[in-house]
Amino acid sequence: MDADEDDAAGQAIDVLAITGRFRAGVNLELAARLAAWPPDFNHIQVHEVIGGMLARQATLIKGLADAPPIWTANSAPVILRAIADVYINIAWLLLKPQERCLQFISFGLGQSKLELEHYRAEISSREVTPEETAMLGAQEAWIDSQRATFLQDVNLGNWSGTSVRKMAEEAGCVDFYNFVYTPFSACAHSMWHHIAKYNLVTCSNPLHRHHRRPTSAAADPDIHYLLLAAKYWAKTLGTFDERTGIAVNRSAAYTQLVAELTDPADADE
């Protein structure tokens, strides 16, 4: 896609300029939340997990905004699925933030310990390079800085102890689960109902029984995917604001993006 592409009304829009303003808006909105929501050392895990996840959401949103070539049905849903995951996590965590944020951290530390042990098992029968020794040491030190590795349990299930669907139901966002998380999972996990539509094309030769042939055809970028990401960013902020009770201006980046794409004359305002 060119930076200057005609929109539906025939007017040229500068996509890169618009996404640049959008990412700046996302940065401002994140900064505004963090400024209005200072850490509380009674429950620092809440600030670190929720704040980190909010920042992660901003990173995902900006990553998508910066990459127009992946605004396609083949690629964008991989990012959008991760964005949906973050949203449901935040919504569920904020229902019981003190307890659940500890649960979230513990699961992550356990996974890190498990990964470390897999590496150690793999190298046990051969000579270890200095780089590997340094990497394993750094990983153990990272775990130890939070909890002694030998005391850390490993949870082989999922971190919340329940399904994502139940998390969404509990957090009041089961529609988001049904209509965003699940459909985009098909692409993210390369499931049949994604690849059959996007990576197979039906042969029309009757002697070939209308079999499906693999294809990796290029797809035209569609700005719809950026709008979806922006909408989920606004939704994330809305839930965060509501559950934390902080009051800041609501989602100007999304509103501005919609305005600019709807009426390019607004772009310079």
Binding site: P206, L207, H208, R209, H210
Partner: protein, 246 residues
């Protein structure tokens, strides 16, 4: 908040699976496909009917399969409709059945099967054309392609008459009997298809009967490799095509 409309409430939950009502009631089914299996098995019938017309086509096929049934006790109760069934008969024996027949159908049978033999060397009835120089012409391939394309619509007249012939062979072999009050009891009225309500009902019965014949009871299915071989051969003799004509 308004109560949510339940989804798939008619399905039964077993572990993490939602079992469809039909499967829940009748248990797992064995799929049988008109396109995957039945078209390759019954194409020879369709070709004979296309070349000689429905009425003469049925006469040729009836005479041929009666001769096959009469040729040995082992073959006397078989329904000789699916092409793959003929793999059980050695080529020499198959030729002898036709050439020794008091009925006069051999040339007509071979004429109709010639394009199939030319392009599909492993067709189970090819022994009937052994010794002939077969011309695998582009016209014949186009003809086969068009015929197969027509059969994809299982309810079109050609496909129905092909299936009716297969069901007729089950009657003729004394393997199918129907109650007098069923549509299928008025089987000959299929000739009216699709002009009369009765013929539409008979056609529906024919399709359902074939599903049964090619399904669990397998009295008509050959269980041979022929259907897969037919479609694999298609990939060898003609390129893939896109719907936009490329």
């Amino acid at each position: 908040m308004a109560a949510r409309t339940p989804v798939l409430a008619d399905h039964r939950k077993v572990g993490s699976r939602l079992i469809a009502p039909f499967n829940d009631m009748f248990g797992p089914t064995r799929d049988v496909s008109w396109i995957n299996t039945m078209i390759p098995e019954l194409l020879w019938i369709a070709l004979i009917q296309d070349v000689h017309g429905s009425r003469r086509g049925v006469e040729i096929i009836t005479a041929f399969t009666r001769d096959v049934r009469a040729s040995s006790a082992d073959r006397s109760t078989e329904i000789w409709a699916a092409a793959g069934k003929f793999t059980a008969i050695p080529g020499e024996a198959l030729r002898a059945i036709v050439t020794g027949s008091p009925e006069n159908y051999a040339d007509e049978l071979r004429d109709a099967l010639r394009p199939l033999a030319a392009w599909y060397p492993s067709h189970p009835l090819n022994a009937l054309l052994a010794g002939e120089t077969l011309d695998a012409s582009a016209d014949e391939l186009t003809y086969l392609k068009r015929t197969v394309a027509t059969l994809f619509d299982r309810s079109c007249k050609a496909a129905i008459m092909t299936q009716a012939t297969a069901v007729w062979l089950a009657f003729d072999a004394d393997r199918l009997k129907v109650a007098p009050d069923l549509s299928l009891a008025q089987f000959p009225r299929i000739e009216e298809y699709p002009e009369t309500e009765l013929s539409l009902r008979i056609a529906a019965s024919i399709r359902a009967s074939l599903n049964q014949f090619f399904g669990d009871t397998a009295i008509m299915a050959s269980e041979s490799d022929w259907p897969a071989a037919f479609w694999n051969r298609g990939l060898e003799i003609a390129p893939c095509e896109d719907y936009d004509g490329r």
